[in-house]
C-alpha cells in the first residue's frame, strides 16, 4: 500500500490537473523533491499554467486573491505552514474586502495546499502546527487531510468559490495512508465520523486521527465499541452529531496534537457541556510543556491512562 504522501499526492494531482484555466504555483513545485513529494508529477490542464515562483510568500498569498478577483482558479503549494505567517495580512484583510464587497460565487477560487511541519526535526523555528489559529483569525476553513475518506472529499473544495487552506502532516508522510470506512460527513466537511459505537466517543483534531484510531482499536480489544470522529477547522461547526454520540456513550476522549494554546476542542467541550450532559471526559493535548527545540514531536499518548480514566 502506498504511503500517506504518495497517496495524497496522487489524489491532489488527479484533481488539480483537470481544472480548466487553473494556475498551480509555488516554490520548487516542479523540481527538486517536488515539495517533499507533495507536487510530484504535477500537471495542469492545457489551458492552465504551472509557475515555479520566487521566494515571495507574502506576494504569493496576495496574488492568489488577485487571481480570484480576476476570475481565475488557483492553487498555491507550500512547503511549511509557518511560511504562511508571512501571508496572514492577506488571509484576514484582503479576504475581508473580497467577502464584503463582492458576490463571491462569481469570482475565481484560491486554495493553499501545504505540509504542516510537525515532525519536530527542522528546528525551533519550524514547529508551528496549529492552523486552527489561521481559521479563527480569518474565519476561513482549514482542513487537515489524513485518510482515504476525507482526502477526496476535501479536495473537491479546491474548485469551489472562495478561499481555504488544506494541510498535510509531515509527521504522517512516511506512514501508511490511513484507511477508514465512512459513517458520516458534514456537508461543510467540518466533521467526519469513521466508526459507530455505544461505549465511547473519540474526537480527533488537527492531525491526531492516527492516535484516535489506535485508541479505538485498543478499546475494541477490551470489548468496547467507540465512535471515532475527526474535526476540521471550519468556523462554527455543527457539533450535533458528536453531541448525540456523547449522549449515548457517556464517555468522551478529545485529542489535539497542535501546539496552539486556544484550541477548538475547548469550544466543542463547552458546547457539549452546555447541554447538561453527564459524561466522563479525557482531554489529550500538548499542554504547557512543549519542547521548542529539536524533538521527535510524536504526540505521545498514554492509552492505558486514558482507558483507566474512562473506567475501562
Amino acid at each position: 500500500m502506498a504511503n500517506y504522501i504518495a497517496s495524497v499526492n496522487q489524489l491532489i494531482m488527479s484533481k488539480c490537473s483537470k481544472i480548466p484555466g487553473a494556475v498551480l504555483y509555488g516554490q520548487n513545485l516542479n523540481n527538486g523533491t517536488f515539495i517533499s513529494g507533495l507536487t510530484k508529477n504535477i500537471a495542469v490542464h492545457e489551458t492552465g499554467r504551472i509557475i515555479n515562483t520566487p521566494n515571495v510568500e507574502n506576494t504569493l498569498c496576495g496574488m492568489g486573491f488577485g487571481m480570484m478577483l480576476a476570475g481565475v482558479k488557483c492553487v498555491y503549494f507550500v512547503k511549511q505552514l509557518d511560511f504562511m505567517l508571512l501571508g496572514l495580512d492577506h488571509f484576514v484583510n484582503t479576504y475581508n474586502f473580497i467577502r464584503c464587497s463582492r458576490n463571491i460565487n462569481e469570482l475565481g477560487s484560491f486554495s493553499i495546499i501545504m505540509l504542516v511541519c510537525d515532525q519536530g526535526m527542522q528546528g525551533p523555528q519550524s514547529s508551528f502546527s496549529g492552523y486552527a489559529d489561521f481559521s479563527s483569525m480569518a474565519r476561513i476553513a482549514c482542513y487537515s487531510i489524513t485518510n482515504n475518506q476525507d482526502t477526496p472529499r476535501i479536495l473537491e473544495t479546491v474548485t469551489q468559490p472562495g478561499f481555504r487552506m488544506i494541510g498535510l502532516s509531515s509527521r504522517l508522510c512516511r506512514s501508511e495512508f490511513i484507511q477508514t470506512n465512512l459513517v458520516y460527513s458534514a456537508d461543510d466537511n467540518s466533521v467526519f465520523q469513521y466508526t459507530e459505537g455505544a461505549d465511547a466517543t473519540i474526537v480527533c483534531f488537527n492531525f491526531s486521527l492516527a492516535e484516535g484510531q489506535a485508541l479505538h482499536k485498543k478499546l475494541l480489544e477490551k470489548g468496547m465499541a467507540s465512535s471515532l470522529f475527526s474535526v476540521n477547522y471550519v468556523p462554527y461547526p455543527d457539533w450535533t452529531r458528536i453531541r448525540q454520540s456523547v449522549a449515548i456513550t457517556g464517555r468522551l476522549v478529545v485529542m489535539d496534537d497542535s501546539k496552539s494554546v486556544h484550541l477548538p476542542a475547548y469550544s466543542m467541550l463547552d458546547a457539549i457541556a452546555g447541554d447538561n450532559l453527564q459524561f466522563k471526559r479525557v482531554v489529550v493535548v500538548r499542554g504547557p510543556n512543549v519542547d521548542f527545540g529539536i524533538d521527535p514531536d510524536l504526540f505521545p499518548v498514554n492509552y492505558n491512562d486514558i482507558m483507566l480514566r474512562l473506567g475501562v
Binding site: V56, G62, A70, C74, D89, F97
Partner: protein, 299 residues
C-alpha cells in the same frame, strides 16, 4: 489641432471639477458629516485624471487608502462617493466599503486596500489573471513613497518582471508617510536603480500638468502592452492637506483649505489647479471655473 485643444480643455475641466469635489468633501469633514475617516488628496488631481484617461475599458485600477481622487475621477460623480462616506445605501458600494477600501468595479476600480503595501501583490494576481484569461488591458496599482518601503514592493518588482505582467506600478511620491518626511524616517531610495536591477522600465513624472501626464501615461501603457513588461512610474507631487480628516485639522492649524478662497489651494507648482491657471488663457480658465461652480450640488 482643434480636437486636441478640446480634449485638453476636457482634461482641464476634470481637474478643476475634481478639485471642487474635494473642497466639498473637506468642507463636510469640517462639519463632521461623515461616518468614516477620509484621506483627502488635494494636489493629486492631475495624475488621477491622467490615469483615469489612460484606462481602456478592460483596464483595472488597484488603489490605496488615499483613493479619493481616483475614485472621483473614475466615477465622474461626487454623489455616490459622498454617500458612501455617509454610510448610506445610496453610496458607491451601498455604504459597505467606506473610504479607505472604496472600490468601484463597474468603473474598473477592482480592489482598494487600507493596508500599506498590501495592494501590490493583489494587483500582480489580477494582472496574472488577465494573462490567463487572455484579456486585454493592464492593471495599474497605486502606491506611495511610504508604502514602497514595505517588502511587497520589492517582491512585486521581482515577480511582475519574471511573469511579464501587464502591470503599471504608480508611486505617488509626496515625500510623506503620515507626518514623517522621507529624510525623517529613512535614506533616499533610488527607485530608478531598483527598477534597472529588475530590468523594469522606469519613468518619472513631475510638473503637475495634466496634459503632459495624460500623454506620457498613454505612451507608457503602450510600452506595457507592446513589450509585455511591467513598468514603474514615480510621480512627484505634494499632498496639500492634512494626513486625514479636515484641513485645517485644528483651530490654530496653519494649513488652511477653504472653498471660499476659490479652487486653488497653493499658489505654486505643487498645485495642479494653479499650474493649469498659469498654462491656460485667463478667460478660458475663468470659464472652466465658472462651469465647475455652476454644478448643482445638493449634498
Amino acid at each position: 489641432m482643434i480636437v486636441a485643444a478640446i480634449l485638453d480643455l476636457q482634461l482641464a475641466f476634470k481637474v478643476l471639477q475634481l478639485r471642487y469635489w474635494q473642497h466639498i468633501v473637506n468642507e463636510s469633514l469640517k462639519k463632521n458629516i461623515f461616518k468614516v475617516p477620509v484621506h483627502c488628496a488635494f494636489g493629486h488631481e492631475a495624475i488621477a485624471v491622467a490615469v483615469s484617461e489612460m484606462m481602456d475599458p478592460l483596464d483595472r485600477l488597484v488603489l490605496s487608502h488615499r483613493n479619493i481622487a481616483y475614485n472621483l475621477a473614475r466615477s465622474g460623480r461626487l454623489q455616490p462617493v459622498y454617500d458612501e462616506y455617509k454610510h448610506l445605501p445610496s453610496g458607491a458600494d451601498g455604504g459597505h466599503l467606506g473610504s479607505m477600501n472604496l472600490a468601484n468595479p463597474d468603473r474598473g476600480v477592482i480592489y482598494t486596500s487600507s493596508i500599506l503595501g498590501n495592494n501590490m501583490p493583489v494587483a500582480c494576481g489580477i494582472a496574472l489573471g488577465h494573462l490567463m484569461l487572455k484579456r486585454d488591458g493592464i492593471v495599474t496599482a497605486l502606491t506611495g513613497d511610504g508604502a514602497m518601503e514595505e517588502g511587497t514592493f520589492y517582491e512585486t518588482l521581482d515577480i511582475s518582471r519574471y511573469q511579464k505582467l501587464p502591470l503599471l506600478l504608480m508611486i505617488e511620491n509626496n515625500k510623506f508617510a503620515m507626518s514623517s518626511t522621507i529624510s525623517e524616517r529613512r535614506v533616499p531610495i533610488d527607485v530608478e536603480s531598483m527598477c534597472r536591477a529588475f530590468g523594469t522600465p522606469y519613468f518619472f513624472l513631475t510638473g503637475n500638468l495634466v496634459f503632459d501626464y495624460a500623454a506620457k501615461l498613454k505612451e507608457i501603457r503602450g510600452i506595457i502592452t507592446g513589450d509585455a513588461t511591467p513598468a514603474v512610474v514615480e510621480v512627484d507631487l505634494s499632498n496639500l492637506n492634512r494626513h486625514a480628516g479636515p484641513t485645517p485639522g485644528w483651530p490654530s492649524d496653519p494649513m488652511n483649505i477653504d472653498l471660499k478662497r476659490g479652487l486653488i489651494v497653493q499658489e505654486s507648482a505643487c498645485d495642479p489647479v494653479h499650474v493649469l491657471k498659469q498654462k491656460l488663457d485667463p478667460e478660458i480658465f475663468a470659464g472652466l471655473e465658472e462651469k465647475v461652480f455652476s454644478e448643482n450640488w445638493s449634498g
